[in-house]
Symmetry: C2
Subunit: 681 residues, 2 copies
């Protein structure tokens, strides 16, 4: 090319010209096209910078993990491997390639099509009764839903709205009449439905929603009405565009009496998608993420709903307006109605974990190939994953993912087989696990994005969508902070119940036991708390004892505050809110650790156990280290032992690093879903 230079006249607004030197020369020799499509360039290969084959990233150094990746994946997939693999195969089809546009409507079209495809593979109907052509297999449905979390998150939620929320509410709150009428159309997505619970003024506090349903015996209809602007249903998935029908939660009034929140099936759009009379619909518009789901608002202006369309499994209104319910206590009835949310919470938490796994897989695989800075000139630079700080960022998150997976698998089983008495425990755990898991997802994706530096910021490397789309997981299906308060409240109530009806002698014996336990805690020479930090029993004892002591202290405090009516229970709880949130956290950390440890003990493949046990140790010591101030304040850990936690976490991170890529590969996120060029072989 010509080395001669010339001048370039750049435009300036005032009409003056400024000179900038440039090169005259043969443009055809080396001049580039403005932007993309380098690979398609006919001159590719002419110079290193034109050689498309150089565009790949350096290979990921092979590992010699202490386990077989396929075996670890079998362990993680567990009993539901078949359906998980079916969903994975579906998601690898070319039509599931991610939407690359930025247009909301285009994405919505794409997502609706995807959801329909999956539904029509029979996956939407998995949980439905056989009477409507379903498989009556909620476990399979939940495993399928969890696996969708490896793909587009709008799809996950579009699917969740249609099946988990709309379909699930019809199934659980309705009777055969509703099942036959609505579920077949739901299964094929011919009948897109909404779950209209949240209102503009009431999200977390569902009990105070404003929408009313007043029964009129003359016409045998309910008069469904939004009395105020803020009574409008809000953020309702499928309401923005596609929904034809909705389960609407409203305050039921019949015979002049308020009966609390009940659910009604109400059509909202006609065949052509126009709002039906009395129904006002509004699109929630552009969101931070998940724009493939058409969230919207709904108001009702005295819409008449036939008596039969009340979902009447737990409560019925007779033609004359007489109200009956098999659940006598109104509060219990309300919580049974909300009980439909529990499966949703588990599913949201578990699919949130799938998202974290995908993000971790990208960050770990990139960190295993990217080099930056090195020991000396001429020597190769270091792999990011060899930096202790990088290990500290990513390895505890890997442990979290494995531990949470075990906890969700156990909870799902319990939720499916539980009887009414155990339901409260399931509800507590579902709330805590949903919050813990979705916060972990947000944290994992943020850490992963930052760990991938500038590459992590390019949309093509997926963190953009993963982060934006999953950000709402900490809010929907129960705001995490509100859920954690629910957890603490349940724990305190159960704790208080253990004292109920106890004799004075029993209570004295209990108090003595407490004193002995406290004394044992202080014994520096032995006991479960002084064992090897790498022994799961010691770990369990530390988690357990912390929860017991914080629970006992919180219980005593609330009792003292409310004694003699000095404070209402509400005021007492409110004043102790920060302590209660701590209680909820230590509870769920204890539980996740225990479930993970149980799963490792039950693992039939002994070859996996050492690696799993290392992750359990990392989970335990990382969370204990994070909370070590409390242990030091309480005298349950000495300063030396506290420092030992830090040393062990560093060491465990370095060990986990050696099989990190294998550990993320075992998640079984299909490369087609991972999609990020920085992560692919």
């Amino acid at each position: 090319m010509s080395p001669a230079t010339d001048t370039l006249e750049a435009e300036v607004p005032a009409g003056q010209k400024i000179n900038v030197h440039t090169r005259a020369g043969d443009r055809s020799a080396t001049g580039g096209d403005p932007v993309p499509g380098m690979a398609a360039d006919p001159r590719a290969g002419q110079s290193p910078i034109d050689d498309a084959s150089l565009r790949g990233y350096p290979p990921i150094a092979p590992e010699t993990p202490g386990f077989e990746v396929a075996a670890m994946r079998r362990f993680l997939d567990g009993e539901q491997a078949a359906i998980k693999n079916r969903v994975r195969a579906l998601l690898c089809r070319p039509e599931f390639r991610y939407y690359e546009g930025t247009d909301k409507e285009g994405l919505r079209d794409k997502v609706f099509g995807w959801a329909k495809t999956i539904a029509n593979e029979g996956i939407g109907g998995l949980f439905m009764p056989k009477s409507v052509g379903g498989q009556d297999n909620l476990a399979q449905f939940m495993a399928a839903f969890e696996t969708l979390g490896f793909h587009d998150i709008s799809l996950v939620i579009k699917f969740g709205v249609q099946f988990g929320l709309w379909g699930g509410s019809v199934l659980r709150l309705g009777t055969d009449y509703h099942h036959q009428k609505y579920l077949p159309g739901t299964a094929t997505m011919a009948l897109p439905g909404c779950f209209a619970m949240t209102e503009i003024s009431h999200g977390s506090n569902v009990r105070d929603i404003e929408t009313t349903a007043v029964y009129d015996p003359a016409t045998q209809t309910f008069d469904l009405h939004s009395p105020t602007f803020t009574a409008g249903k809000n953020y309702i998935g499928n309401a923005g565009r596609d929904g034809k029908v909705a389960t609407v939660f409203a305050q039921l009034r019949t015979g002049g009496e308020l009966q609390g929140v009940h659910a009604f099936v109400v059509p909202i759009r006609d065949e052509e998608g126009r709002p039906l009379p009395g129904v006002r619909l509004e699109d929630n518009g552009q969101k931070l993420g998940m724009n493939g789901v058409d969230n919207g608002r709904i108001w009702f202006d005295h819409v008449r709903v036939p008596r039969a369309e009340m979902l009447d499994k737990y409560a019925q209104v007779a033609p004359d307006g007489t109200y009956t319910s098999s659940i006598k206590n109104p509060a219990a009835r309300f919580f049974t109605t909300l009980g439909t949310l529990v499966a949703g919470r588990i599913s949201v938490g578990h699919s949130g974990l799938s998202i974290a796994k995908a993000g971790l897989a990208i960050a770990v695989r990139y960190a295993a190939r990217r080099r930056q800075f090195g020991p000396a000139e001429g020597q190769p630079e270091n792999i990011l994953l060899d930096y202790p700080a990088h290990q500290r960022r990513l390895m505890p998150l890997l442990a979290n993912a494995y531990a949470l997976d075990a906890a969700f698998k156990h909870l799902t089983k319990t939720a499916l087989t539980t009887d009414a008495a155990e339901f409260r425990q399931v509800e507590t755990t579902a709330a805590a696990l949903k919050a813990f898991s979705t916060w972990n997802t947000t944290h994992t994706l943020q850490t992963g994005r930052e760990a991938c530096g500038g590459e992590g910021y390019l949309a093509i490397n997926r963190f953009a969508a993963l982060k934006a789309d999953s950000d709402i997981f900490t809010t929907f299906e129960g705001d995490n902070t509100v859920l954690m308060q629910l957890v603490a409240k349940n724990l305190l109530t159960d704790y208080a119940a253990t004292f109920k009806g106890k004799s004075k002698g029993d209570l004295a014996r209990w108090a003595l036991g407490q004193k002995l336990a406290l004394a044992a805690d202080r014994n520096p020479f032995g006991g479960a708390l002084r064992g090897d930090l790498l022994d799961a029993h010691t770990q369990r004892a530390l988690f357990q004892r912390r929860e017991e002591r914080i629970l006992a202290a919180a219980g005593a405090k609330v009792r003292a505050l409310t004694a003699g009516g000095r404070m209402t229970a509400y005021a007492a709880f409110m004043s102790q809110q920060n302590v209660l949130l701590t209680l909820a956290f230590v509870h769920i950390e204890r539980l996740v650790h225990a479930r993970f440890d149980d799963a490792i003990r039950a693992c039939p493949d002994a070859s996996l156990r050492p690696s799993l046990a290392r992750l359990r140790d990392l989970f335990a010591l990382f969370h204990l280290e994070k909370g070590r101030a409390w242990f030091l304040e309480s005298g349950l850990l000495s300063a030396a032992r506290s420092r030992e936690l830090t040393r062990q976490v560093d060491r465990l991170c370095a060990e986990a690093r050696r099989e990190a890529v294998s550990l993320v590969d075992a998640f079984g996120v299909p490369p087609e879903c991972l999609a990020a060029p920085i992560a692919l072989d």
Copy 2:
């Protein structure tokens, strides 16, 4: 409306039809339009749900703050109030209304137009020398840049690329020839420029970039070349579309000798925006955020750069190829070249703080009006900001914002007036403050989004853009983790220097002093560390002593590891990486607290001091509480005193809550910039 119901035939793919009940009736009576534009509905006012006047949020309860908001704003605006208010006024013009589309090119057009408008108001030229028509006022320029952080973040960075990076590199590394030639066009944005330092393979490690510039005396040109694909310049702002010229960093070779990284001015596009011969340009494509900035990649294929176009303030190449430099040490020369980044780091950190302020203003104002859950039926629900947990989420972030503001103001002044000897201190502080501030921004926005629940997820309420656009702040202008290592390294080097040349006697006296200090630390009956936690001196002593002890321990460890050549310094640093990061954190926490305290003492308006002192206490105790495990491990805090930290933070949060809205209003984010409906009056 008619209560009669009818059937709606919904389409199902197999051609079957399913029946869904619906209402026949007079659509015109109450039927709604499908989505937006409710306010424009001619029937508005007919029913509460149609009344646009109800769409507002409840008013924010008035506060009785202990200060005048206007006075606090004057304190925050400081000496640069005039330019800050000028920029605010500009940003309130109608043409600065945010872009509502999702199209990248549309946003780029908008942002370019905004940047040009601001530049042509003379703001771009503020920092330029008077010889080219500038104002020679970097302080004003930096204050203007900080204020832009209240508006669109793409604009901030588009502006920063053009002026801070491209313009700044010409100004600092070039001589009058370059200033006269490039700066006038730069000031008007007639000549959009790039700062081409980062490469695909080398982001943080600039020293090892691959691009070469080989001097050829025969033609008196440099042969600028990208020898490999990975030598391509990456993420370069203005390179994707608008840039006409670039400061390119390359390894200089002349007379057969490598001279390290130097900078050259190179045109990259012709008048019509086509890449010039030998220049290959590629758009970085869709990013997680900041899509109004056209980041791109650049490769050079033996592009000839005239000798005069080397930015030769610190190093020159004579026509015959002789290399000269006023800075003899190559490492020092390299760091002087990188020194151009320091002002950018300060500006990025400070504008990142503006972003955090905007997010906080939205979250706090919304929390002061939103109610959810209440003491009992019939009583009003509680305001979110009255929940202790909500206070704990937001109030420490408010304290961070105030404290960081003081630290940035001080650093900016030092950076502008410093001599060469002080430059290292400025560099260290700029690195630490940039990292601390941008991490704080990410955390503040995440917390703010979650604190606003579903409303926080709607694009109209701004967290979508704020979060996405600012996410890269923790990575660019120096990856935060890398910067924090730089900080620790500088601290250790300075620490080691204090021992250099010391006599045996001096060292013995030093060792004795250390022993006495340690003994004093353990004295439970007095000393600075045992003072009132609400006394700034006690706070300073705690921060100070922690940093000293961690620094001394890290120094001793590195010395021990490297003694007798057992380990290279590199290996020793690497093995201690996590401790070094802790050191950097405790250093910057100490410094920010001290700067904030200094600013409060120097505050001429005594009426502001009590509120500011409360925020200083909150800053101090919140960060000390967060790090209390170390204090417990080291015996610098007793368990009782550690628990006292928690109690005081709770109390300070509750106190700060009482003037929280006033405190965010004092930031002076114009409502036009805030824009979020949930936050506006």
